[in-house]
């Protein structure tokens, strides 16, 4: 499997090359849009990892150029923290997946694997809903009854977990392990506190209440019957 990395920042570039190399892929690295497009068009790659911010041609121009001749080449693009619109634009232009800097390498590797396994990914649905609550995964943006709601990192992680497993009762231990990456603790109530904070933001001023407590079991998010 051969991967092309288009990334101008040297540190990031070499990190990616090394990491993916060690993961067993053949990796080429170029540091600008022109070379990126040119190389990618050679047809020898299975996947392109594309930074958006590039000197010369930027990421979208490369993507656009590429899609003309190679509609099926998998493209994973990297976007900066706040350039949220970028992601949307990127996907519209035909990228297959995106990743927001900073990200963990494990995350990147997981996506690369997915893309290579199933070829161009049918992008997963980008909005989760429950009643009038909406979570736009792309923009990391949450609204309820049309009202924008700001969440912190943990709150967002927690909400996403709830929504992805809507209707399931999630034990505290499961929540702890997903959101905090730690399990098996008895003497802490971080989960409770986090749920409370989340409730204050998404459930307090609205109806119906979505997050319910199941005594002795955990919490569920669902629209009450």
């Amino acid at each position: 499997m051969k991967i092309l990395i288009v990334e101008d920042e040297p540190k990031t570039g070499s990190y990616l090359r090394q990491g993916l190399g060690e993961a067993g892929y053949v990796v080429d690295l170029v540091d600008n849009g022109f070379d990126g497009l040119h190389q990618a068009e050679s047809g020898e790659y299975d996947l392109v990892v594309l930074d958006v911010m590039l000197p010369g041609l930027d990421g979208w121009q490369v993507l656009q150029g590429l899609r003309r001749g190679h509609p099926h080449l998998a493209v994973l693009f990297l976007t900066a923290r706040d350039q949220v619109e970028d992601r949307v634009k990127g996907l519209e232009l035909g990228a297959d997946d995106y990743l927001v800097k900073p990200f963990a390498f494990a995350e990147l590797l997981a996506r690369v694997r997915t893309l290579l396994r199933r070829g161009r990914a049918p992008s997963e649905p980008s909005v989760l809903r429950a009643a009038d609550l909406e979570v736009d995964l792309l923009r990391r943006r949450v609204t309820r009854a049309g009202q924008r709601i700001e969440l912190t990192a943990k709150e967002y992680a927690l909400l996403e977990l709830f929504l992805r497993r809507r209707g399931e009762v999630l034990p505290r231990s499961l929540i702890a392990s997903s959101v905090w990456d730690m399990n098996f603790d008895s003497d802490t109530n971080v989960v409770d506190v986090a749920v409370r904070r989340l409730r204050l933001k998404i459930d307090n001023d609205f109806e119906p209440r979505l997050i319910q407590t199941v005594r002795g079991m955990g919490y569920v998010l669902d629209v009450p019957a």
Copy 2:
């Protein structure tokens, strides 16, 4: 490979059983010291995961009893957050490794694998040093010139990283990925700030300075020539 879990807290116990089961081990679970010791003595297990806090016989008593007849059975014991002395005591009594609650399941699995692979683990050195700086990994305790120094979680993680790779220049990106589990970010100076905080605690009031800045490259911890 067969594992015995001795854990009285039901949630933790079943979580462990399920997790290790899914990882491909045969698992038995008991919830008290008496049964734990009795079962373990049967000789059919390759590893015992032992909680310290137990009704009836506590973890150490089990361990002690066990070591009499089965000096080579691998034992991994679980200790609560602050009961630091427990760990020392545990290792002295012949446990092979320990884990502090709360911990990530991945962590547990890693240790279980290590123990099963190489049998009873030659416990790794438990103190790291550089000049008059000492880090006791078991107690998570840091001293410089004999003076106790309190570190936060991140500070400790950072220091441990530095010490484990003493003399190596660590690029910011590497530090970010190890301590924060995130890479590839340019527009943040968390690493710088963290290094500063650490320096304030371990380097500011002492000689020689251990953490050095290598311009354009990163940071090193070493005793200056």
